[in-house]
Symmetry: C2
Subunit: 380 residues, 2 copies
């Protein structure tokens, strides 16, 4: 067997130790030789999504970062508050690779025609362990991108696009007819606005400042309400009356916003109700929390009757629920509209070593609207 | 037309005025002459359920009660805090009858054989406006009780029994296999415990003190956990591990309890999980809030992954959802077990005038476990 350039590569690892520390490091790992129906992808672009941070940083106290070195480069270690250790009890002492999705070029394949057909192609992957230089994967996990697509353009093919496309699917399946979205100027939020414009779906965007409002107005948004405005509740209620949006997807999670949305829905429903109902409106009202930009407690004043629901929402169980045929339709649409509806914008490209830099960690952990980080493991 | 004893009767009314007051009074109202398929019920027993208090007292500040008189007896008036007026905007200036359910004797009927067959019978009714001396109703709204059933025994045939019977139905329909119940020593909670014992369903009862625990142990409860105990979270988690109860019905609503239940469910699920999941356990976890014994805000720390739901739950929409055939099965079971499983215990019988007495209002508004009030409109 001859030595191949992809035989080993650096991989980012996150490790929680029993003495309440979280350590990020680079490990040199052997790349598994591809089986018959497998390929080796040289990863060139993998985004840092909020959904990656749970595994990457967990409940670590970012302020306690201290750095050291191992043979492969920097190591950064954090303390984990003792009371939060039970959240990560199941992963103690297990060195975990990170990175939900990414894109790269197929540099080796197994013997099957399907695998060989991918050699040299740019593919997008939702496979986990993407914060590394090489990744051996089944052909079925790879989505070949059209010729002329750069890995950076295909890095975010799955998490944000499929999440954004899923919201209208949930809406239809649960009998709603319009949507509310929070943190709406995010990459995901912009995708959702473009989808809703294209598909004729009413969308109420909730943002926190005028800059975010402008981002959405500039791509054609009609309903944008600012939660920092003194007229927020009235504006939101009016937008719900105009759109009939009784289903919300909330990326914030903590604080009073989810409850405010349910309250505004209730007021809007009662504005159109004909008779008084002692238990509140009969309009079904649902908020799904799909992110945790605010990790603080969620507070509900429950001034919204009894016909309401609040719940967690995750992409993967939803895709399992709708099945592979419906899921493939969503994926096909992502590829077809990759450079338009689903174009992602990155503000900074990072090497694997950069991801372990405390200053940069503080930046990507901020999850600020308009800031989006892309890892290129090829940079080392 | 000859004068009949039932031609007019006293009826309790709740009125919200535009100047932010709520007034309870007795009105003398004409009893509608029964149509072909209708009967007139002389109401002799109607419970004060927590679910009646929303309409009866609404957001009134009970401490502001002052009394006066009208031609029919006492009148009691309360202030409504201005900020809560929007909750009752839809009922301003509409004098509303109160009382979801009750029982009485049929004293007049329409011409149909079905109506005439009920003459002299004791019937239970879920019809609204039961806090009054007479009530004209369709035959279809009346459930004839077996001979020898006193109206007081049949007064609570619907709200508590059907709610308690619905919880296992929801459990089965949503794929859960055991239940958690809060405020579990209530009349409703005791019914639920009896149902679960009879039907072999695991039930975790949450109570607030040792007396309530004893009430449930005395009727055969296995799992009773006390939320005032320092070991509450551990006890609850252990009971969930033992029963597999991932569906809870919560009568409290406010405070941290609903979130604590979801947290204990998550810990219990992770105790049996084989692999670490970055988004928390894959076990579906649901809490339905069906009451508001604590009207304060609900606080969720969301330390329970992403597979969770919290929502309002109401009996009527659930009965609509399962349809008349399934609903009738539940009703038949209530009648069959009226003196056993579904026996209600009342601590005090009230006249209509008593219901307007500020001291008695303070007592029934306390919604204390073990205290249950029955109105007998025949007492005036």
């Amino acid at each position: 067997m001859t030595t191949t350039p992809w035989a080993t590569g650096l991989q980012l690892r996150s490790l929680v130790t029993a003495d309440a520390r979280l350590e990020l490091s680079l490990q040199s790992v052997e790349t598994p030789t591809p089986g018959e129906d497998e390929v080796v992808v040289q990863v060139q672009a993998s985004p840092i999504n909020p959904s990656d941070l749970g595994l990457l940083l967990g409940p670590a106290d970012i302020g306690t970062a201290r750095t050291s070195q191992n043979a492969n480069g920097p190591v950064v270690t954090f303390d984990i508050p003792e009371r939060l250790m039970r959240m990560v009890a199941a992963r103690v002492d297990e060195s975990m690779p990170v990175g939900n999705e990414g894109a790269g070029v197929v540099v080796a394949t197994g013997s099957s025609p399907q695998a060989q057909a991918l050699l040299g192609k740019t593919v997008a992957v939702l496979g986990g362990a993407m914060y590394g230089q090489y990744r051996t994967l089944p052909v079925a996990s790879c989505m070949a991108l059209p010729d002329g697509t750069a890995p950076a353009e295909g890095a975010s093919c799955f998490v944000n696009p499929l999440t954004a496309l899923s919201f209208p699917e949930v809406m239809r399946r649960e009998g709603f007819s319009a949507l509310i979205h929070t943190a709406a100027a995010s990459n995901l939020g912009q995708m959702l606005q473009k989808i809703c414009l294209k598909d004729g779906i009413g969308l109420v965007n909730i943002v926190r400042n005028a800059e975010q409002e402008k981002i959405l107005r500039d791509i054609g948004a009609t309903h944008v309400v600012n939660s920092s405005s003194p007229t927020f509740m009235d504006d939101l209620t009016q937008a719900i009356v105009e759109t009939g949006a009784y289903l919300a997807f909330d990326a914030i999670g903590g604080g009073r916003l989810a409850g405010q949305i349910l309250t505004a829905m209730e007021i809007a429903a009662n504005k159109t109700a004909k008779v008084y109902s002692r238990y509140g409106s009969t309009q079904a009202k649902q908020v799904y929390i799909y992110g945790g930009l605010d990790t603080g407690p969620t507070e509900l004043n429950r001034a919204f009757g009894m016909m309401w629901g609040l719940g967690g929402w995750l992409l993967t169980p939803f895709l399992v629920k709708i099945g592979p045929v419906e899921g493939q339709k969503l994926r096909d649409r992502v590829v077809a509209e990759l450079k338009t509806t689903f174009a992602s914008h990155y503000t900074r490209e990072l090497s694997l070593a950069d991801v372990l830099n405390p200053e940069i960690i503080a930046a990507y952990n901020r999850k600020a609207t308009g800031e989006k980080f892309l890892i290129n493991p090829g940079l080392g």
